[in-house]
Symmetry: D2
């Protein structure tokens, strides 16, 4: 039994890795591209995963937007920050912080909402994502974007600067994508269950150094680790297989630590 596309559904209209778009299907509406038009009425009531021809004869794949499709799309839309957390980094954050179905996670800042979306998908209806965003305009935009793509019952959004404190207690993980994560270390400590996970994403090595310094005071944190993940795409073609010429060489470093119950003496 496959999902059917409805009026109001979001679809990924895919030509190739560079030319693809997430669009809301609107009755009587039309998708326009320089490779031709598609009538949304031709999609409504049909299955995701179809290949449809534009009126100029070009074939497009019509997909249910994936985690990566949506995350990437959110990144494109935001003009607020040039750095969104990429899928490759979101994956390692989930795994290294043991975030899964049922987890309760604090996140800051909300930003584009791209990582919030991934976290909400991971924790599911039995978990919770508490996300903090200081700036009101960003908060409002993220709220609207998230409501488009996901049932947000498991997302609690705070329009509040996390530097002022975390309201939640006994959470499973605190995930930070902030300019000054070292200022939130103490708040994260107070919010976490013992043995649980601090994760911080930072583009520069200077931020990493300061975060480590803050995590090293008083012997309160264990298992400190900083990782960087590089993702390479391989172009597989008969008789001409090779890695792609260009890649994103750096997005950010991820620093992980676990809360100690009573720390080193």
């Amino acid at each position: 039994m496959s999902d059917l596309i409805k009026n109001g559904s979001y679809v990924l209209i895919f030509l190739d890795g560079k030319r693809n778009w997430i669009r809301e299907v609107k009755e009587d509406g039309t998708f326009h591209s320089n490779k031709g038009q598609i009538q949304y009425n031709d999609l409504i009531g049909t299955s995701y995963g179809r290949v449809v021809k534009s009126h100029s004869g070009i074939q497009f794949q019509i997909h249910k937007p994936s985690l990566t499709d949506i995350q990437t799309s959110m990144g494109k839309k935001t003009r607020i920050s040039t750095n969104i957390v990429y899928p490759k980094d979101a994956g390692i954050i989930l795994i290294e912080s043991s975030i899964g179905a049922g987890s309760e996670v604090v996140e800051a800042g909300t930003g584009s909402g791209a990582l919030t979306f991934v976290l909400a998908n991971a924790v599911g209806s039995t978990g919770k994502v508490y996300t903090y965003e200081a700036r009101e305009d960003i908060y409002q935009t993220a709220k609207m974007t998230l409501e488009k793509y996901t049932p947000t019952k498991n997302i609690i959004m705070h329009n509040k600067d996390i530097l002022e404190g975390v309201e939640e207690k006994d959470v499973d993980a605190v995930v930070l994508d902030l300019a000054t994560p070292w200022e939130v270390v103490e708040h994260a400590f107070n919010a976490l269950k013992p043995s649980h996970y601090f994760a911080s994403y930072s583009p520069t090595i200077n931020q990493v150094m300061k975060t480590h310094e803050a995590l090293s005071i008083d012997g309160q944190w264990g298992m400190l680790k900083t990782l960087e993940v590089l993702q390479r795409e391989i172009r597989v073609k008969p008789n001409a297989t090779r890695p792609k010429t260009w890649m994103v060489a750096h997005t950010g470093y991820m620093t992980f630590a676990r809360k100690l119950y009573d720390g080193y003496s």
Copy 2:
């Protein structure tokens, strides 16, 4: 409220990145290492996340085993295969295949159970992992290992060669870690919902080429993509920060594709 360690709990006893062990806490039992002994009775009834001293005065962290701790440990124990799916690769598989709370996933082969464990944690109690393993000894070992670390109600284990077919229908993702994934492409197609995810992990580029070839027949699959993920650890020390000297340079390539409903004409 923090979890308390009980008789029968598994703990990670952590000295440093190289010297750490997952152990079952047994009443009246003792943990032995060349850095001294720890009496399990001293742990029972206390919180995870504590730092305890061995009788020779060395401090160990006592943690609730994380996803990564368990996954890595499963990899060490198996003598069956030299390749387990690493955390970095498991992360990207989850994200790129949109696997989250509630997903229904087919996996083959079960192998050490390390990836099964990660998938089960991701899909949670509202999802399902159907895992296939042809060899009986491996199947039995994986079963025992999985029962140690996770409630396995959401895991259905088949002691069956997936080359003979997939019993499930309309699943959200098929994840393969097999020597000959190209032979399972047709079975995967039949098991998947349209627009959903085929993911295959292979150490060699020759396997990737053959898998692409199988995925390219008949225009049945869309959005083919092969990724490789490199993880680098940064050693952060005051005045001496640098990437670690050695790293795992290659584990495997991951090939993704999405089932088309009616394919290219």
Copy 3:
């Protein structure tokens, strides 16, 4: 004693990593850019390494073109091939093939002449570079380009397909940047001194596989090795140091082997 710029000298006019140009200094001529003009007469008779202001007040560095400057520039000019051998790869070819002052090297194809230029600089006046290029138009263009940048007394150019054979004997290294290097393995063998170096640069893994196959026949070659070199640039800024966001992720693989005198039995 520093070199002085003369009428007819080539200079690198440098604004930043993306905006820089190699130009011939011509009496009474003018350099034009959207950051203003520079009169060449103001450069003639002065030292390389100066910072000069354009008429609109922007400061440019004036350098003697380096190996990398010229190699990169040659790459830009050629429309023949999208792949030039990058500085990072040229470096490893020199080192792994033990090419230095006095070496005699066979190269094919000449292509843009970029690698020829690097080899000629390395072997110096006591060495020789014999370079083969099948296509006449490419041969002529490379000849003109090389004459601009280097005294070519140590370069012998053949307008000849190396598939027809190598005229030289007892050379120190054979360096190939060809679509089908495996077809030249036997010619390379005949041209080389025993224990000396075969080096082949290829963008695709399929070419590497075929080259290895050709090198593995009859046990005539030793110490086969294929390397790939990734170069990452670090943007060093006070309080904001990080690798650059984008990098060239793949140029080519380099395969090395050494001629055996009598081979494996």
Copy 4:
């Protein structure tokens, strides 16, 4: 005409990438390994590049030691420093500093002599390498090692701390592998020709930051750039080609700059 092995020649005795040795051929002497013995008398008067059998029937390749063979061997022998400049880094230093036949280069510290050896091979008999080493024991060891492998007429060794100044003027490049390269920036400036090359190799990012800071004072240097080079080896096997599992993930960063004649105003 191939070189013949003589009494006193150095040879590389090669079994595989891990088991290979550079040895001096001594009349009536014997090479011992756990794969059998080789009589040096059987090598004398024969060509490099032969495959010889040990008395236990194992075949070894006998090669003239290459740049990489010697550089790697020097690295193994030194107990002084854990960091030698690897071939991959030496290659990029040569290219980015435009070092070739005839160049005059200042180097510090001499260390194991591995990089001195590469530089001497690059500049040849028409160039010069001036190398500084503060510690006498290291200086003496490097002197002995270099005399074994290369005619040292083009190498001038100073047993002197380069922090006290550089004796040479108008050199083409200054290459540093020192704990505190930023303290030598001014000396390097005074020694170099305008438009010529400062190159510094440092394992930690903190050293890079301090070096950039020193290079940024007074606008005296142009074209600052920091590179990191990663080398990956591909294991090419029929039907099982893949990058090797482990690699050296980090050796050092290389910082380059060019001396300005009169600097920024």
